[in-house]
Symmetry: C2
Subunit: 685 residues, 2 copies
């Protein structure tokens, strides 16, 4: 797609346009009495050059597939973005800007995906946006490899632009992601680094003296430096050079002044995260030759400029649409890639058919691997990889090919030992919305990637997080690798769905549920060790598993009678609990229900009455849960019931020795439950 | 301290010594049928050169203050370390090596601090060890600045050596920590990078093609390259050059062959994480000219060499002791720094006295700041800092001075926006044991630093983690910055103690508890917002707070009567709950106990009966908890009781609007509790 250059602005109008962005930010922060004026003031020039001369978008269709993406990684400078969105015609009004940082506004403190048209990603936790952008850029390359013809009209050729800050570069997640970006030769990624030499708490000289440019060169990036962040032409030249560089991502460090224009606070930490204050606002406006009133001023000629620019860009979009319409006739299959991924409605049944008849002892990671292969066949948009653990997580898509530098037709992404970067990159794919990304590592290492896991939930992204080696039963690697509290910490995240399946059909359900959940992330948790097959009196329907909980063993009771005991278990402990049933007193065993609960969150969405039918809390039935984990999260299910879990760190030892030492053999589980019941009986006697 | 050079070994004995290390690892992994032989085989040469010619230690006194530290960041190569510890005379026997990876052995799968003499840090989760080492090195510099005289005998002049792998360098935590190391000019830090070009899942060419040497130069490090990892003299020269470089940390990349000596597996991922297998062991031993039997062979002349080397080093230690004895006479105060930090027994009372009389509305971060200043005065070993948030966390030690490049007498460490590196560096201080380190950031960002927070608990380190801005009530920054599930995820970590104090005396107790807890980490959680003072009928003793829970409001009941309702609250919600009492029906309010529970973990250690006296579960009393957080963790305390918390993400808005929207005003809390009680009464009717 051609870039249309807008007509050159007069120097005066250019300056006024840049100051409009500055002053909208100043006024909004002042009005909210909260926020970060410094970054928008310092970065307004480069943002204006980028948005007015380069960025291709259509404010009426903010999700146009071939728009350029702009990600404000330094999310605290949100008013820069909101101001630009307003000026560029997105559905962000002056009234919205006046509600900056107020409840349920379109202009929250940090940009939030889905809340505001034109916001590509939720940013604010530093480093995430830049790492997401690597995902956007890789996604774009992979999409182009699937869509673009070798010659002629190219439906996809957009850039991914990022504006980032010192904090973004200090965070390790960007080191991880940017190393991948360099390796993968993401020439479509252009990062503008707002080098303002000031952080919240002081000057960067206090702690951030590394040679950033040299570091990015070491990652294999194309690096440029702009000495004056108010030099529009130098910025423009650097952006053009970056666009021309096809094989390397571009890093443009732009020397700016935080809070530019504020006579008393420019270049100091005071300009960073607090309103300038009434007096300083006045002085700033005077210095920049800006009227004191009205606030939230957008001069008419600035409006007129943007109107004409929007019109130009609309024309570009129309031209693209015509090209696509023609191309789509020739390539109807390929054109589907421009829309959201399709997932078959009967995916649960199709995946369940893969595992039908599997009844030898097997690990759920291995079963998961078989299911994943079929899922990949049925959902071409499914792509992903592991943090250097393919041979352990078993998540390699066979026949899917590798995503390699300069060659993006494959489906397997190699993230290296970079869990945090992996999670944030996967979120970038999910934000962009053309692929369904998955990540994989050991469950313990969710600790290395908590921020993107949480942000996937906050932004309601279809990111799939696969974790294998899900308990102490991974064995000899010991406590540094054995999750204890991790399941609880994932289940604690609002809006996350966590699956810990117990057998083949539950594994199929877990993958199907995750893939069909369009507006939120899922976590899939698998064992390293082999599990004995469950004994099922009749096969369970995959749709039953999809509900998150069901009775695996139902005692034969007279009508209206309640069970005496309900044991709930997940994953590897379902088999343990089923064997434990044999070790209970026969009279008790005969009155015990065993519930498999592969997804607690789905169970929690059942109507209360239905929940109580499965887990009859208000009767004399006692509840116990068995899970080889910390168990903190289970009391909300069993109330005053018993949690048979692990209340300390693991140990390096073979699996069987650990089951004994941690009381998780069927015999020990049965004995523990019985002792607890007897104690309760005694206390009530 | 002088380095004594051991007498040069014959080439044959040298080779035999190196192969001994290799073969101990091969045999132990084979014996355990689990483990990682590849790294020890490839890195044995450099490890032997370092340990036999440079490393200063005394196996009989493994915690000698001026020993050189050796940290195996690539913890999966644990048999390299265990083999060296055995050979070098530490209390690790051949029998211990034969119990590699068995339950309760001294030789767990990954090195664990406290389990094995000579293991300086728990490693295995990649990147942690190298980042810890930056903490060791900075701690050493800071200790030396406090102890060493300007001239003459210097009690402290050791090096911190690290052996790390590709995975360590890929993890973002090392980017963060090593940038700090370069900034701080840690010339005492020497990193040997085992550049074996192979990772678990493949070749580094698949994903790790950045220029590592250039990256470390960009961080301000002294970088060397050794082309042949079996060239002892080249390694030796590089180590000497690194020692001579005083102002920069040293990075020595050493090109090795993973699994060196294995004819079939050397240089392949197969050598990484699995036993070689019987046949391949045989071929390897044949190739290296090693007897097939006995396994775990240490040739006599190798033993004899180590005996003489240990003797030399013992002499060095004796010489140091004599120097110290003399010096201690002149500098008895300074000599105390060589021992573990002293914390006054009456610290709780002394800290409580600081806050006495504070009864205006104030944030707990502000109160915490006042307490911290006093704590710093009473505990000179207390040092720390924030991730670029001093002005928000209020944790700057006034008058403590800054730790600056080349000038280490200060107490305030500036970590930059590097939470993960901060946590791991702080753990390095705690492992070394001469300082009590604290870190500080917003509670939300514990997500960025989970691995070191967990490892502090696993390794039982006195690391203090301060987190401010502890709930949605931080306000306008919005959901990306508002913790919901974070409290639960920290409380879920075994062995962690988490404090969320409600008022000045509880803040004093929290700091005192954390500082006095010698064998484990504490988390201190403070508010951003001001809290109304609690209404106390009489002042509470700080020792009562130290117990973790107590009745703040006790209803006047007849003897033997139980309260009708017990409300538990923490932190900012204690005041809310107290105000909510006023809004309850008066008959109910008169029969309600309000419990403040600043530290759940301490309460959980009470004898069961005492717990039940405060929270009378088995009676008709109803339990409710109020905490502005996810609440997942509270059901273990209140069982089937009510948790008034937050079950979704936060929102960007002023504090008061959030309290209304999330049902956390006193009126709404009271109404919610009453409605719940009435519903329960109806259900029972």
């Amino acid at each position: 797609m051609e870039t249309t250059m807008p007509k050159p602005l007069s120097p005066e109008l250019h300056k006024k346009s840049v100051n409009t962005i500055r002053m909208l930010a100043v006024d909004a922060v002042e009005n909210a009495n909260s926020g970060h004026p410094g970054l928008p003031m310092g970065a307004a020039e480069m943002a204006f050059v980028l948005w007015s001369r380069h960025l291709r978008f259509n404010p009426q269709e903010p999700r146009w597939a071939n728009r350029d993406r702009f990600i404000l990684s330094a999310g605290h400078g949100s008013m820069l973005l909101y101001g630009l969105l307003h000026l560029a015609g997105f559905d962000v009004s002056l009234e919205d800007l006046k509600k900056f940082r107020q409840l349920h506004s379109k202009t929250p403190g940090h940009p939030e995906f889905r809340d505001t048209p034109g916001v590509e990603a939720t940013t604010g936790p530093l480093g995430q946006g830049l790492a997401n952008a690597v995902g956007f850029a890789l996604s774009a390359k992979m999409l182009a490899a699937r869509v673009n013809p070798p010659s002629g009209f190219r439906p996809l050729d957009h850039f991914v632009y990022v504006l980032c800050s010192d904090g973004d570069l200090m965070e390790g997640v960007t080191s991880e992601a940017c190393s991948i970006a360099g390796h993968q030769k993401l020439g479509n990624l252009i990062v503008l680094y707002d080098d303002n030499q000031v952080t919240l708490a002081g000057k960067t000289s206090v702690t951030f003296t590394e040679d950033r440019d040299a570091r990015y060169r070491a990652y294999g990036w194309h690096v440029q430096h702009v000495a004056d962040g108010n030099d529009a032409e130098a910025i423009d030249r650097a952006i053009r050079a970056a666009q021309a560089e096809k094989d390397r991502p571009s890093f443009i460090s732009v020397r700016t002044v935080l809070g530019f224009g504020s006579p008393g606070k420019a270049g100091t930490p005071e300009a960073h995260g607090s309103p300038l204050g009434k007096d300083e606002v006045k002085k700033t406006k005077e210095k920049l030759g800006w009227p004191l009133e009205p606030t939230f001023l957008v001069p008419d000629d600035v409006r007129a400029f943007w109107a004409s620019r929007i019109e130009e860009l609309r024309g570009l979009h129309e031209q693209w649409k015509r090209g696509v319409a023609q191309w789509e006739k020739e390539q109807p299959q390929k054109a589907k890639w421009l829309r959201a991924p399709a997932v078959p409605q009967d995916l649960p049944e199709q995946l369940a058919s893969v595992v039908q008849g599997m009844n030898a002892a097997e690990s759920t990671r291995k079963i998961g691997s078989a299911v994943l292969q079929k899922a990949a066949e049925l959902v071409p948009a499914l792509v992903g990889g592991s943090a250097d653990l393919d041979t352990s997580t078993l998540t390699y898509l066979k026949g899917g090919g590798d995503v390699e530098p300069g060659s993006y037709a494959g489906r397997n992404i190699h993230f290296g030992v970079r869990e945090h970067g992996m999670g944030a990159i996967a979120n970038g794919f999910a934000y962009d919305g053309h692929f369904v990304p998955f990540t994989a590592t050991f469950l313990q290492f969710v600790d290395y990637m908590r921020p993107p896991v949480r942000l996937a939930a906050l932004s309601r992204l279809r990111t799939l997080f696969v974790f294998t080696h899900d308990s102490i039963f991974l064995g000899e690697d010991g406590p540094t690798h054995q999750p204890i509290e991790q399941l609880a910490t994932i289940r604690a995240i609002p809006f996350m769905e966590t699956w810990r399946p117990a057998d083949p059909v539950e594994v199929a359900a877990a993958w199907a549920a995750a893939l069909q959940r369009e507006d939120g992330p899922s976590t899939l948790v698998f064992t390293r060790q082999k599990l004995p097959p469950l004994s099922r009196s009749q096969p369970v329907d995959v749709r039953t598993c999809l509900r998150g909980a069901y009775a695996l063993v139902e005692p034969k009771l007279a009508k209206g009678e309640e069970p005496e005991l309900v044991i709930i278990a997940t994953g590897s402990e379902v088999a343990t609990a089923q064997q434990a049933l044999q070790a209970l007193r026969p009279e008790l065993a005969a009155r015990t229900r065993l519930v498999s609960m592969p997804c607690v969150e789905r169970f929690l969405r059942w109507p209360r009455e239905e929940q109580r039918r499965l887990l009859p809390h208000d009767t004399k039935a006692k509840m116990a849960v068995v899970e080889a984990a910390g168990g903190l999260d289970w009391y909300r299910i069993v109330g005053d019931g018993l949690v048979v879990g692990i209340d300390r760190f693991g140990a390096s030892a073979p699996e069987k020795a650990l089951a004994e030492a941690y009381g998780l053999t069927p015999q020990k589980v049965a004995a523990r439950i019985q002792a607890w019941l007897e104690q309760g009986a005694k206390a009530n006697a």
